[in-house]
């Protein structure tokens, strides 16, 4: 199970890569492992306003439907258009190929509420 150091994480198992005012978002290795085979991904359109803690997309495994929550508020400036055609990338490359959206963050202070890698790993271990 990987927990890259450079990322921040939410309690709903999304990861965030923050670069200037742009945040790239996906779901964690822990999340994809818990879901099992991912067979469907639904993402918002560019220009959508997302709100921290509110669902922005959907991931479906063979067995179940799960919402994906926005870690931060802002405007969606880019979506991974390849992902809906190859949802299995969520399993094979959760931190790279399976990035989901890029958000122009409206409130950098929201970053403070996210977990760092060590805290998130501990959180996952306590949840398991």
């Amino acid at each position: 199970m990987e927990f890259p150091e450079e990322l921040k994480y939410t309690a709903e198992h999304e990861w965030v890569l923050s670069e200037a005012d742009i945040a790239t978002v996906g779901i964690s290795d822990f999340a994809q492992d818990a879901l099992g085979d991912v067979v469907f991904v639904e993402l918002p359109e560019v220009g959508t306003q997302v709100e921290a803690g509110k669902p922005f997309g959907v991931v479906e495994s063979v067995k179940a439907v799960s919402d994906v929550y926005a870690p931060l508020s802002g405007e969606v400036v880019e979506v991974n258009a390849e992902l809906p055609d190859a949802p299995e990338m969520v399993n094979t490359s959760p931190y790279e190929d399976a990035w989901m959206i890029k958000i122009r963050v409206s409130d950098q202070a929201e970053l403070e509420s996210l977990m760092d890698a060590a805290a998130y790993q501990e959180f996952c271990e306590s949840e398991h």
Binding site: V39, V58, E60, V62, K63, V65
Partner: protein, 367 residues
């Protein structure tokens, strides 16, 4: 406290993901649902189905009692044969769907759904007490038996290594009593996957040794342990009904596509009057197989539309691992159930296009 099958330790050693399935601690997957599904279609899968219930019926009145209790014609059942059947309430709703084994003129065994076992047994006792069936004895043997399903095109090859019984003599929906890995076993050529294969019943104490022997015997063919996830996707690709989804006390066998086991000409049985009335009047809804023609995965409870009008509800849905599209079973108005009919399914806030398909969905998958 969840009930455990005698293979619980093996599932945990294999790091299976466990779930509460109708009060049972069961493996939902080991290596992954798609991996296990394809292994069963292409080679062999081994499923722990020890949670299933077994009820023995014996005595001179056993056949008369079973004819009254079930909707299929048990008189047609030969010794050594298995029959798919169902038990209905007087109003025509389904108590359970079952397989029935005939061991002798006066001895039968029901295999029933795990989560229905207690309900079924109580119903069977009630029917026995209220009717006039002298010399019938019912025994709930569910805790005595372990059950494994060995399914897939390599199943016969693998099982043949562990038994001296000539498996070619056991035809589909027949069984024999023999030994598997030295353990006395009911070897039944049945299953819930659409593949050739066997369901094996034997003493619960022998479960670990039989499981281990089968896994070893099938290693060359690539046998895989399979969980309830693959069991569900495999049966869905075949349009096999599952109690609690396509079958319930509020759904009749005629609606659920089980007219073929509803034998009105065998004499009276529980539910016959109500079902006959429904047959004459026409069923209000019919089970249809739907294939998504646009991207999306149907799920239990999603509404089915013809145009803007809701005409039914999805009872089970998944992504088909073989076809790689969403498939569903749905109870829809009869006029919407014809093959080729264009419908849509409400998935979250959208209507996603689908079509009534020929079933089994995977009929031509290998071509």
């Amino acid at each position: 406290m969840l009930k455990k099958t005698p293979l619980n330790r093996i599932h945990r050693d294999l790091a299976a993901r466990m779930v509460d399935f109708g009060g049972w601690d069961m493996p939902v997957q080991y290596t992954g649902v798609i991996d296990e599904h394809l292994a069963t279609r292409e080679a062999a899968g081994l499923f722990d189905v020890s949670h299933m219930g077994e009820v023995e019926v014996r005595g001179a009145g056993a056949l008369a009692y079973i004819q009254h209790l079930t909707i299929n014609d048990a008189a047609k059942l030969e010794i050594g044969q298995v029959q798919y059947s169902a038990i209905c309430y007087p109003h025509g709703g389904i108590v359970d769907d079952v397989t029935l084994y005939r061991f002798a003129a006066d001895r039968f065994l029901f295999c029933v759904n795990a989560s229905n076992t207690d309900k079924d047994f109580a119903w069977m006792e009630q029917v026995l007490e209220e009717g006039d069936f002298p010399d019938v004895e019912l025994r709930n043997l569910s805790d005595d038996y372990a059950q494994l399903a060995l399914q897939g095109p390599a199943a016969e090859t693998i099982l043949a290594r562990l038994t001296t019984h000539n498996l070619k003599d056991i035809r589909y929906y027949h069984f024999a009593e023999g030994q598997v890995a030295g353990v006395p076993t009911i070897i039944s050529r049945t299953g819930y996957t659409g593949e050739d294969g066997f369901e094996l019943y034997f003493a619960a104490e022998a479960a670990e040794s039989v499981w281990t022997a089968l896994m070893a015997a099938g290693s060359e063919e690539g046998i895989k342990p399979c969980g309830l996830g693959a069991r569900d996707t495999l049966r869905l690709e075949m349009k096999f009904a599952l109690y609690g989804h396509e079958l319930s006390s509020e759904i009749s066998p005629l609606e659920a596509g089980l007219g073929w086991i509803t034998k009105f000409d065998k004499g009276d049985f529980i539910g016959r009057d109500a079902l006959l009335k429904q047959k004459e009047k026409g069923v209000p809804r019919r089970l249809a197989g739907l294939v998504m023609t646009d991207r999306g995965i149907p799920r239990d409870g999603y509404p089915v539309f013809a145009g803007e009008e809701q005409v039914g509800t999805v009872t089970s849905g998944t992504m088909s691992p073989c076809l790689k599209v969403g498939i569903a079973l749905a109870l829809v108005r009869p006029e919407c159930s014809g093959v080729g009919k264009e419908l849509s399914i409400g998935i979250r806030n959208r209507q996603v296009a689908c079509r009534v398909a020929k079933t089994p969905f995977i009929k031509n998958w290998r071509d």
